[in-house]
């Protein structure tokens, strides 16, 4: 150990120790010479004899150094400093390579961080997160469901494999009062939630079991951290005070810790005990069903595994428990779930939830594939530049080889240069990974995600390994090639030989670059075209409509909602197709699902979208009635209309008009009559058309939205006045439907922008690469071209010479690229809706862009070649 420490110390002290050694040796020689003089030699003879006696001073110094330090580390250090110097000598190359690599590594590392977060990171703030599980029933086709509150209590009381179980049910509430009122996301949770998750509150406390007793609700609330920061200025005084929620004063008992947002990305969250739902929605009949009915649906369960229990044990036990709960409690066999469901017990990682995996993973997979290609492309490109550089360094390398450096030593030196470049780039890249994922998620989702997006040790290791892989990918082949030179040739001043093997390598790299960028560009082109088609696509309804939504003080007041509608109708007069009401605004992604069934069907009722509307709805949105008739002013309560999809699902190839359909209502399934069929529209969401039933109503469960034909400013003013007169506490908000549509299109646009950026990056890289190859080929052949011109070759012949030199690579690359792109397109088509794999516009566009880029990249080198002066070219050496 002492030896190691002394050796390490001597590494640091290298310079001083070298001087000391020199002193010591010269003292030695002086003494020896003095002794020799004393023996009677002349001065010069004495010195020579002393030196002879001593042996080689240089060899001794070398041996001494070798024994002194750690030779491997030392030479590595020397290589590294040499590499830095050599990189600094070529600032342009180093800067380009650094920027390209940093971007590529940064993007890849960011995606890795994001993927790791989605796949492996549990909710923030949990204690022993591995023991916290989510419990989800999944049916035979993989759709996930939930539990009723009654079932959750049944399970919590009996499950032995779980030490505690808690409910988390999404809800939304109005926070604050007049003026500063806003809708925020909320969760109804069991009183023990924060204990189950093992969360340390940022301020105050979590709920206690007494605050969650159905029948004796308490008005208590826990605020999410982000909401507390944004709405209450992070004031510590808020704990213990009351705030208005749905116009009921609730006492704030605690603040959730930073990062804990529940299962979904959100920046505005509050938590309530389940029991307090009867305070939040005092007049909503659905509350009783939610709290007391065993067949209510769709609350999420989370639990903590009992000591020693595994997830498999928990899943098996819960399966049995849930089945026995159903047989005990549900009389109507029609209401029970279909066969084939099972309970999945998983972690709290975002993608661990069943049913969530597909879409996001597809996106992540596509992005990874794209980024991996860009990474390869960048490496190929830098490798290409390296070879060009190696040609310029041929003399330096030749000198080192001829002075006795082994080939392995020189290759190591060159690889270390690459590694230093890549490591520098990965430091920058990690910086990008600290910023980009958060920026991306918060701008695309509604707020911070439930998991952490900080790069952790695993991400850092990934970035460093990526740097290492890059260094090998772009450095190894050029290094091997550069050291494979004939020393005598390299030392001669002119690069005489054309270096055929190196040239072939460059051509292969050029071909690979072209192929990769064709694949990326075509993929990007297809995605862009897909997005364009979406952007210009017809949602099926007129967006020339203003949507007015109302927030009533007690959002669930039935009489309030009906009275409001009556007032508005009174003020606006006869509609005549100018306005309509609907339970949900178009594109709001909110929907009512109700069970429907064709009479006589043997299967159980299926869920379908049911939208309550007023008769003029289809007029205002200009939705075409394709069969039967529209709703009349005075319509029987049994009349319904359906959309084409619904008709197709239930009565394929038959006339749906006049059919009877059982639709779930307050008294169970009731028969309704189909009076008309309307065109399919994307009213619920842009991603798919849901089979929908339209029901006419004049009894609104909550305030409906008012749809006004646009260009009706006086009417909008009338609405505002009427509402103010009706109840000053009702707030009115109007948005053009076109804006809503625009908002919904944004993700598709983002996708296209990302794809285009990737494609353009690929194109830029390929252009730089092409330019490099041509420039190199012209430089190499300057003398040959000079001779040709001197012998009378026309400039056009020279141009042809240069262009054909790379034609194999270019044509081969194009062919490979188009084949690869066709494959990629087939894959894309399976994954992204609305892509045509053989879209001629995309392919033609890409080829045109490539041709232009190719021309641009070869223009300067070719011009350079055709203007070579024979005389100066021959003197070039």
């Amino acid at each position: 150990v002492r030896a190691l420490v002394r050796r390490l110390w001597s590494l640091v002290q290298r310079r001083r120790l070298d001087k000391e050694l020199a002193d010591e040796l010269s003292a030695h020689l002086e003494y020896a010479a003095a002794d020799n003089i004393a023996k009677g030699m002349s001065r010069s003879e004495a010195q020579r004899a002393a030196a002879r006696r001593f042996g080689g001073v240089l060899q001794t110094t070398e041996a001494y150094r070798h024994a002194r330090g750690l030779p491997f580390v030392e030479s590595l250090w020397l290589d590294a400093t040499y590499a830095v110097r050599s990189l600094l000598r070529q600032p342009a190359f180093s800067a380009v390579a650094l920027v390209v690599l940093a971007t590529v590594i940064g993007l890849n590392t960011s995606l890795f961080t994001l993927t790791a977060g989605l796949l492996f990171r549990p909710w923030s703030g949990l204690s022993s997160p591995g023991r916290v599980v989510t419990i989800v029933p999944v049916d035979a086709v993989g759709r996930s469901g939930g539990f009723s509150i009654v079932a959750s209590r049944f399970i919590a009381d009996r499950a032995k494999s779980l030490s505690a179980v808690s409910v988390m049910r999404p809800e939304s509430v109005d926070l604050g009062h007049e003026g500063a009122r806003g809708r925020v996301g909320a969760f109804l949770v069991s009183g023990n939630l924060f204990d189950v998750l093992g969360i340390r509150m940022a301020r105050g406390r979590g709920f206690v079991p007494d605050e969650d007793r159905v029948g004796t609700p308490r008005a208590v609330v826990v605020l999410g951290y982000a909401l507390w920061q944004a709405r209450f200025g992070a004031s510590a005084d808020i704990v213990g005070n009351t705030i208005d929620i749905n116009d009921v004063p609730f006492t704030v008992v605690g603040i959730a810790p930073e990062g804990f947002v529940g299962p979904e990305p959100s920046s505005a969250n509050v938590f309530f005990p389940v029991a307090s739902v009867s305070l939040l929605r005092p007049r909503d009949p659905a509350v009783a069903s939610f709290l007391y009915r065993p067949d209510d649906c769709c609350s999420d369960l989370v639990g903590r595994l009992a000591p020693g229990a595994t997830r498999q044990q928990a899943a098996a036990e819960l399966d049995v428990l849930t089945r026995s709960f159903q047989t005990e409690n549900i009389v109507d066999p029609q209401q029970t779930r279909s066969e084939g469901w099972r309970i999945v017990v998983g972690g709290t990682e975002f993608l661990a939830r069943p049913g969530r995996k597909n879409q996001l993973l597809v996106l992540v997979g596509l992005l990874s594939a794209g980024l991996a290609l860009v990474w390869l492309l960048a490496c190929a490109n830098i490798g290409n530049l390296q070879i060009a550089r190696a040609a310029a360094r041929a003399r330096e390398i030749g000198t080192r080889l001829s002075l006795g450096a082994s080939r392995a030593r020189v290759v190591r030196q060159l690889l270390i240069e690459g590694l230093i470049l890549a490591l520098g780039a990965s430091v920058l890249g990690i910086g990008i990974a600290f910023i980009l994922p958060k920026l991306l998620v918060t701008s695309l989702a509604q707020g911070p995600p439930p998991f952490s997006l900080e790069p952790d040790a695993v991400v850092l290791i990934y970035a460093v390994m990526l740097a290492g892989a890059s260094a090998v990918a772009f450095g190894l082949a050029p290094a091997l090639h550069a050291t494979h030179t004939d020393i005598t040739n390299a030392l001669r001043s002119a690069p005489v030989d054309l270096n055929r093997s190196g040239f072939r390598l460059r051509s292969v790299l050029l071909g690979a670059q072209i192929a990769l960028s064709v694949i990326l560009l075509v993929s990007a082109g297809l995605l862009v075209r897909g997005a364009q088609r979406r952007a210009s696509f017809d949602p099926g309804f007129s967006t020339d409509v203003t949507v007015v939504s109302f927030q009533t003080p007690a959002a669930d007041s039935r009489t309030g909602a009906d009275a409001l509608v009556a007032h508005l109708v009174g003020a606006l007069g006869d509609s005549q197709g100018r306005f309509a009401f609907a339970a949900h605004e178009p594109l709001a992604m909110s929907r009512d699902l109700t069970g429907v069934q064709a009479p006589g069907a043997t299967t159980r009722s299926q869920p379908a979208d049911v939208l309550a509307i007023s008769p003029d709805y289809f007029d205002v949105l200009r939705i075409q009635v394709v069969a039967g008739r529209p709703f009349l002013r005075q319509e029987s309560a049994a009349a319904i209309m359906i959309n084409e999809s619904f008709a197709r699902v239930h009565w394929p190839n038959e006339n749906a008009v006049g059919r009877t359909l059982l639709v779930g209502g307050p008294q169970g399934l009731e028969p309704h009559q189909v009076v008309g069929v309307v065109r399919d529209t994307y009213t619920a969401s842009l991603t798919k058309i849901a089979p929908t039933v339209y029901r006419m109503t004049d009894h609104w469960l909550r305030a409906p939205v008012l749809l006004l034909k646009a260009g009706n400013a006086p009417v909008a003013a009338v609405v505002a006045r009427t509402v103010a007169r009706f109840d000053s506490r009702v707030s009115v908000q109007s948005t053009p439907l076109a804006d809503r549509l625009e908002e919904q299109m944004r993700p598709f646009r983002y996708g296209a922008v990302v794809a285009t950026t990737l494609g353009l990056a690929a194109l830029a890289l390929a252009t730089i690469g092409t330019f490099g190859v041509f420039m190199y080929s012209v430089r190499q052949r300057t003398r040959e071209i000079g001779v040709r011109i001197a012998l009378g070759a026309a400039p056009s012949a020279v141009v042809r010479l240069i262009l054909t030199s790379q034609s194999h690579a270019i044509l081969g690359g194009l062919a490979l690229g188009i084949a690869g792109a066709a494959g990629a397109a087939a894959v894309l088509r399976g994954l992204v809706y609305g892509i045509r794999p053989l879209d001629p516009v995309a392919y033609a566009g890409v080829l045109a862009v490539l041709a232009l880029a190719g021309l641009a990249a070869s223009y300067i080198p070719v011009r350079h070649a055709s203007r070579i002066e024979p005389a100066s070219a021959l003197r070039y050496e």
């Binding site: 002394r6 000391e20 002193d23 003494y31 003095a34 006696r53 041996a63 001494y64």
Partner: protein
């Protein structure tokens, strides 16, 4: 010209330690001269090889170094044996004596057999 035998393999360390033990602190040239004198110039060491050997001994903590002025006033580096070096020297010396004794006995044996 006398034929000089090579330094016995691995014994240079021992020789240096013994020299320092006997003579007290010395500088590099003095050590080289001393070894040559004692071996009456029959041990040919390339004087330069002395220095890596000294370094190795220093690494192991068997000798200490100190810069000082020589008798001629020149600044030189003195080497001195440490306590650990003395212990090492005693063990090595004993081991050497033992093995030399064994070899010697073998030589005697072969004479008797003749």
């Amino acid at each position: 010209m006398t034929v000089k035998s090579d330094v016995l393999h691995g014994t240079l360390d021992l020789i240096i330690l013994k020299t320092l033990d006997a003579m007290g602190p010395l500088h590099g040239y003095a050590i080289a001269r001393r070894i040559e004198q004692i071996s009456t110039d029959q041990l040919a060491i390339n004087q330069g090889t002395l220095y890596p050997a000294l370094l190795k001994l220093w690494h192991r903590g068997w000798i200490a170094t100190k810069w000082g002025a020589s008798d001629t006033g020149r600044r030189v580096k003195f080497y001195a044996i440490t306590r650990r070096g003395e212990e090492q020297l005693r063990t090595e010396e004993a081991a050497w004596q033992r093995s030399a004794g064994i070899v010697t006995r073998f030589f005697k044996l072969s004479k008797a057999a003749k």
